[in-house]
Amino acid sequence: MKKSRKEKTGNEDQLFALEEHLADTLKPITPPSELVVRMRDRIRVPQREEIASRIDSWQRLFLVFGGVMSGFVVIVTIARAFFYFVGRK
């Protein structure tokens, strides 16, 4: 009976000591201030949702699509003209 009580006390002491070591090891740390600023700047970068929300109206989407297609046609025309003049020689 005495022995088991002694063992129990020993176990509790061990766990208490372990808790003290854990408290010494796992301490709150302060992130460097430049790191906090850097992270804040990163968060301000527009996200996919934000970019998607900018083109949610069909008028704007139509304009963007039209702009891209027009640009593509201009590039193809210039490339064909270049090929026509340079390729003939």
């Binding site: 070591h21 090891t25 796992l26 301490k27 990163r42 968060i43």
Partner: protein, 190 residues
């Protein structure tokens, strides 16, 4: 003091309506805690920075979905952090691990600077053992010791009852003690 004027419910509502200044207040309030959590879970300063930024990015993008159901905002943030850290560990398991000894030492709050220069071998050994524990036990120890949270608060974050947290904590201590015994680590530094 800014804390006196800080009404979290009001700030959360404003942030949910897209007010970036309100989200900035939440960022200032929780950045240290989330960074601490991620840092101890990853043991890597660069990844801690990257993951912490992603936690807040995700929080900002989904803050409209956050509804106060008795779970504190911090618990919601910790859950985001927990998921991102879990993904990080999954990706990392395919790559080589960085030993805990390579982890840079950051200043502890309220500590003497010289104490931070040398982390004792015993602390290193204990950190290594902690990082081998299952994720939920690591979470528990970090929230308890680093964040100084009560069992009830930890329960709210981990989705467990206060009693379950207490029991898990006791089992974690026993497991750690056994591992220390198995590996013959002397925590008293003698």
């Amino acid at each position: 003091m800014p804390d006196i004027e800080f009404n979290e419910e009001d700030v959360l509502n404003r942030a949910a309506q897209g007010e970036s200044e309100a989200f900035g207040l939440l960022y200032e309030r929780y950045i240290d805690r989330i960074f601490n959590y991620v840092y101890y879970r990853t043991g890597n300063l660069h990844d801690a920075e990257d993951l912490t930024a992603r936690v807040f990015q995700r929080a900002m993008n989904h803050i409209k979905n956050y509804t106060d159901r008795g779970v504190p905002f911090s618990a919601w943030l910790y859950r985001i952090a927990h998921n991102l850290v879990a993904n990080w560990h999954r990706d990392r398991s395919r790559r080589q691990e960085i030993p805990i000894n390579d982890v840079p030492i950051l200043p502890s709050k309220g500590d003497h600077p010289e104490r931070n220069l040398v982390r004792s071998q015993e602390e290193d050994a204990l950190l290594r053992l902690i990082r081998r524990l299952p994720p939920e036990r690591q979470n528990l120890l970090i929230l308890k010791f680093v964040e100084n949270m009560s069992n009830a608060e930890i329960g709210a974050i981990m989705g467990r009852s206060e009693g379950a947290v207490k029991s898990l904590y006791h089992r974690t201590l026993l497991a750690l003690r056994d591992q220390i015994g198995d590996q013959k680590i002397n925590l008293d530094g003698e």
